[in-house]
């Protein structure tokens, strides 16, 4: 893999993780939080594929990435189901309303 391709991939990874992290820190809507989490995981996926290619073991990196895609889908589904339940019980999707366990 050429050096410039590696640079592009590293930048892409950092950008995806950065956008996801910003979303997690700043966004208050639970659905958007799950979207942000997904963006972050896509960054990690890209990093896995890139690391596999850079280390000369593209098969390993890609099969790990495929595994992560499966796990990540489950996370998204469960997260969205939780969001539906939160909306039903709490009446809002604002994550600040979820701190009611404190006290």
């Amino acid at each position: 893999m050429s050096a410039s391709a590696l640079h592009i991939l590293v930048l892409g990874t950092l950008a995806l993780i950065g956008v996801g992290l910003y979303g997690l820190l700043a966004v208050r809507n639970l659905i958007k939080v799950i979207v942000a989490l997904q963006i972050m995981v896509k960054g990690a996926l890209l990093a896995l594929v890139m690391a596999g290619a850079a280390a000369g073991q593209p098969n390993l990196g890609q099969s790990l990435a495929a595994t992560v895609i499966v796990a990540d889908t489950v996370v998204a589904v469960v997260g969205l189901a939780l969001a539906v339940q939160v909306r039903r019980h709490v009446g809002t999707l604002d994550v600040r309303a979820l701190s009611s366990l404190k006290k």
Binding site: L21, L24, L25, V33, V95, L98, K102
Partner: protein
């Protein structure tokens, strides 16, 4: 291998029994009693058979692989002796419970926890892997906690259980740190590798392991400054006090010190620290036993004091003396606790001020209790006499003079508080109109077996010594046959000195009216002892400070998602920075 199968039985039978008794359900109490007794007796039989087939190499290996290494089980002298004590005293305590716990609710929970404990205790002493030992160590602590709090609608029982759990878990951290550091330097969790490979460990790291283990041992064996959990543990049903808090679990600390003595003996300051811990515990607890009003608490203080003797014996290099005293103490203190249990069961109170003159109404219990008391006081031909003399002899030969003098004073105090206890409970005039009846058949069986043990176990000294010599390659032992040992003890000047001190303790009690002036002089000391020498106050302060700081730190728990994510990322950045710095250095 045959003894590997026996080890599996010794640990597995009680655990299987625990499951079966629990599944039997509390609607069939008779079957629960019989099943528990059957499984504990079978385990005791397997442990006694194991005594005849010792070895110094792993007899049973569970290859867990990876980071856990192999969980090995080694039937060496130390291990089989303590496993036999745990299962035999355990089965006697279970048989005693058949009458003591009759009619109690939640029998299934009681017996399941007792049997689970017996198996875990056997596993703790037989395991040859530090990590397996740590797991069993914590299982015994959890069982002890659950059984102290067995009457879980009594706030005192719950508080006592939590106190015991907190303090012994603190000690467990010492053991875990020691085990992990040993793994980092020797590359193995096997105890034999640590004992053989101390040269490969830098001195300061070895002393970290040694003092970590000392912390664990002091917390488990209720030694200074962690002794305060044991009196609180007396809220447990009395057979539990006899089994866990006198005969087995509290010995685990002494066992740990004895097991690793060859590795740590050369660590600067370690043996002195061990001697000091034993000495302070022995004297302080004896003073507290002298002023205690609660029969079980008096016995608990006496246990701390006698464990102090064993710790002291390890500190002066008398590994065999400490284990021999451990055997004697397990037998006579289990006898005393079960005798106390029979008394408490009959009269319904633990306050010695309300007892008195009970001997005429319960002669069997009195006779058994007096045998145990004489052994505790160190009166000749009972097992406590031989083992205590052996401890004192080891102290005179290998330890500092000031410690020996202190332990002699402790022997006198032991005699004094023992006779006070016997007198208050069984002799004199009845001080309250208490209904009393003598022990029931199952109680008589346990008491009788232990009383015979208190009279006879010292005859095992020679065979035990040879067993230790044959199977503990890293310990340097000075082994004698029973006859030679008896001759040596009788011929030693220390014995006669100790007997004179014991007689002085006895005389002090006998002519206590004439020594009123002495009692008046020591009044402030007695009051300090009643206040637990301020340790209860200190414990309350530490608990208060912990709860206060937890309350203060609650404000950092906002419960907001974005703050938590920021915390995780911040933590990750710190870890990465540390790794980068370490990598650059």
């Amino acid at each position: 291998m045959a003894n590997g199968f026996l080890i599996a039985l010794v640990i597995g039978l009680p655990w299987l029994g625990a499951l079966i008794v629990w599944r039997t359900g509390d609607t069939r109490p008779e079957r629960q009693h019989r099943l528990a007794a059957g499984f504990s007796l079978a385990a005791a039989l397997a442990a006694l058979l194991l005594l005849t087939a010792p070895g110094d190499s792993p007899a049973l290996t569970l290859a867990l692989g990876g980071l856990f290494g192999d969980f090995t089980f080694i039937p060496d002298g130390l291990g089989v002796l303590l496993a036999a004590i745990a299962t035999v005293v355990g089965s006697l305590a279970v048989i005693f419970s058949m009458d003591y716990m009759r009619g109690e609710a939640a029998l299934g929970r009681y017996y399941a926890l007792v049997l689970f404990f017996i198996g875990a205790m056997a596993g703790l002493v037989l395991s040859g892997s530090l990590l397996a030992m740590f797991f069993f160590w914590e299982i015994t602590a959890l069982c002890s906690y659950a059984l102290i709090s067995f009457n879980n609608d009594d706030p005192k029982a719950v508080a006592g259980g939590i106190k015991a759990l907190l303090i012994t878990s603190l000690g467990g951290v010492g053991l875990l740190i020691g085990a992990l550091v040993a793994y980092a330097y020797t590359g193995s969790y096997q105890i034999a590798d640590l004992l053989a490979g101390t040269e490969a460990i830098p001195p300061d790291v070895l002393s970290l392991i040694a003092f970590g283990f000392l912390l664990a041992a002091a917390a488990k064996s209720a030694q200074f400054p962690f002794h305060s959990w044991l009196p609180g543990a007396m809220e447990a049903p009395t057979p539990i006090s006899a089994l866990i808090h006198a005969a087995t679990m509290v010995n685990a600390g002494v066992y740990l010190l004895a097991r690793f003595y060859p590795a740590f003996a050369e660590v600067p300051g370690w043996t002195t620290a061990v001697v000091a811990v034993g000495l302070i515990s022995a004297l302080m607890a004896a003073a507290m036993a002298l002023v205690a009003q609660d029969l079980k608490r008096a016995l608990a203080y006496s246990t701390i004091s006698q464990l102090g003797y064993m710790v002291y014996a390890v500190g002066v290099g008398g590994v065999f003396a400490s284990q021999f005293h451990l055997l004697s103490h397990a037998v006579f203190k289990a006898l005393l606790f079960l005798g106390a249990g029979a008394v408490i069961h009959a009269v319904g109170t633990r306050d010695m001020r309300q007892m008195g003159g009970l001997g005429r109404r319960m002669p069997f219990v009195r006779n058994a209790f007096v045998i145990g008391a004489l052994a505790l006081a160190g009166i000749p031909v009972l097992n406590g006499f031989w083992s205590k003399e052996l401890v004192l002899e080891a102290g005179l030969a290998g330890g500092p003079g000031w410690a020996f003098a202190g332990m002699l004073v402790g022997a006198g105090l032991t005699a004094l508080y023992t006779f006070r206890m016997v007198w208050l409970v069984f002799y004199g005039e009845p001080r309250a109109a208490l209904h009393a009846h003598d022990a029931t058949p199952a109680m008589r069986f346990s008491l009788g077996a232990l009383a015979i043990g208190a009279l006879l176990t010292w005859l095992l000294a020679g065979p035990l010594g040879h067993l230790f010599e044959a199977t503990l390659p890293h310990h340097e032992l000075h082994v004698l046959s029973t006859g030679e040992l008896v001759a040596e003890i009788i011929g030693a000047p220390g014995t006669w000195l100790a007997l004179a001190v014991v007689a002085a303790g006895l005389a002090l009690w006998w002519w206590r009216e004439r020594f009123r002036w002495l009692a008046a002089m020591l009044e402030p000391l007695g009051r300090a002892a009643e206040q637990d020498f301020g340790f209860e106050w200190l414990n309350a302060r530490i608990a208060g400070a912990t709860i206060g700081s937890a309350e203060a730190l609650r404000t950092t728990q906002t419960g907001l998602l974005s703050w938590n994510v920021a915390g995780i990322v911040g933590g990750l950045i710190v870890v990465l920075a540390v790794l980068l710095l370490a990598w650059g250095a």
